[in-house]
């Protein structure tokens, strides 16, 4: 379910791409520093987007410095001088990873299950630290997993109901980016529609394999229409993307507007076309 929120690189200005990459690299550094070297494995552009959104609503400046790469000593990367706004996205990434591991432990059997259990042990103290610092995020993901498991148990075949737990989780996480009530409303809507986009796109990508393996997928009933991609899934994803954009236009964005515009207006469409090969 990761890697769907990304920029459309060919359409980015070089300075925007450098900033985008700098946020990604700084998040890597922050994860390593706060939660240990293995936490860097949870790094993705999705959380870089969350970091950019979080920073875009704050007025303070954003300077970069070139330093040695944390993973490759032969490389130099640009890093943010002030990483304080990355603390929340890093914690979210860490907590999300932990709950995904728990989910995998439940779903898998045999040696894979043992493997996930070992990995869970490795991340246990990092997760505790993140949960202590951001108990609201811990609560959000715990509720999300509960909701997700319930609809899988019931074999929910409504796309809207199935997407709801993910959408609600992202909605709540986005709200954390602001203390202003009006902004929270907008972020809530933006997060809901983005969470829905992620869930439905992921379900659509996994559909054929889930049918083969007889695994849960909420879109199985829609696949009876052989043009289901064109008739239902693609329009639904476009509607989600349009609603994310509409919400974003109501935010008072202080910086990174061009990067956000690229991700929302170009990236979301680009990704769905690439992933669904439409």
């Amino acid at each position: 379910m990761f890697g769907y929120i990304r920029a459309c690189k060919p359409e980015m200005r070089i300075k925007e791409f450098e900033m985008y990459k700098a946020v990604y690299c700084s998040l890597c550094k922050e994860l390593g520093k706060a939660y240990g070297p293995f936490a860097r494995l949870t790094l993705s552009y999705d959380f870089a987007f969350l970091a950019i959104l979080n920073m875009s609503l704050k007025k303070d400046g954003c300077t970069l410095s070139k330093k040695m790469c944390t993973c490759n000593p032969l490389k130099k990367c640009q890093y943010l001088d002030d990483r304080s706004d990355l603390s929340m996205p890093a914690a979210a990434a860490m907590i999300m990873l932990y709950y995904k591991l728990l989910d995998n432990i439940d779903d898998e059997k045999g040696i894979k299950r043992i493997g996930y259990r070992i990995v869970k042990g490795v991340y246990s103290s990092a997760h505790k630290k993140a949960a202590k610092q951001y108990p609201e995020i811990e609560y959000i993901f715990a509720e999300y997993i509960k909701g997700q498991k319930k609809l899988e148990r019931e074999n929910c075949q409504s796309a809207d109901a199935a997407a709801d737990p993910t959408a609600k989780a992202l909605s709540a996480v986005f709200e954390i980016c602001s203390d202003d009530d009006m902004e929270k409303r907008v972020l809530s809507r933006m997060g809901y529609c983005m969470g829905r986009y992620i869930y439905l796109l992921d379900a659509a990508c996994d559909l054929l394999e889930d049918i083969k393996k007889d695994s849960y997928n909420p879109l199985k009933s829609y696949a009876e229409d052989k043009d289901y991609l064109k008739n239902m899934i693609v329009p639904q994803l476009y509607i989600c993307a349009a609603e994310v954009a509409k919400a974003m236009e109501l935010l008072d964005i202080k910086k990174f507007k061009n990067i956000l515009d690229n991700i929302i207006y170009l990236g979301l469409e680009d990704t769905l076309k690439k992933e669904l090969k439409v």
Binding site: E11, D160, M232, A241, A242, L250, D261, N262, Y265, L266
Partner: protein
Amino acid sequence: MKDPYEILGVSKNATDEEIKNAYRALARKYHPDSYADNPLADLAGEKMKEINEAYDAIMNTRKGKKSKGGSYSNPNSKFSDIRELIMQNRLDDAQMLLDGVPFDRRDAEWYFLNGSVLYKRGWFNDAYSSFSTAVRLEPNNPEYRQALANMQRQGAGGFNGPYRTGGNMGGSCTGCDVCQGLICADCCCECLGGDLIRCC
């Protein structure tokens, strides 16, 4: 009020035409029709008001464009109480009242209002089904057709953003254009007996 030129995103030296174009682009983006059935419609309405006031302040002679405010009010409605709740974004209460209507009294308007609640919740798939049913039951109703048409338009993709993709960014003349122009001018000149560029 913030600087009206800043609100419209134009410089103080912008021509009337540039200001009008900027106003039109913003009005298209924040128009109530774009935010119909959206829980953030009131915020978009405020933004629209700000843009209108800025335009008025600059132009000084035109009347501001009146915002429709995404109204659900309809004097002929049997469900005016539900419409009121939807306008106030009290979706749970509206849903409760909708669910309370017995099946044999669920007409086109019921499906339209049900669709509106679902759309505001973000349940776009069920919202689309509900709007489709409303239009099927009452094909000539403009309110229901508009709701369905909005969803179909959005579902077809290509939602317009401000991000400029490729093409000439702001400039319309590259070095190649200049040379091409000069060579053409030189040829024309030579045809008429002169010589613009002596070495060509």
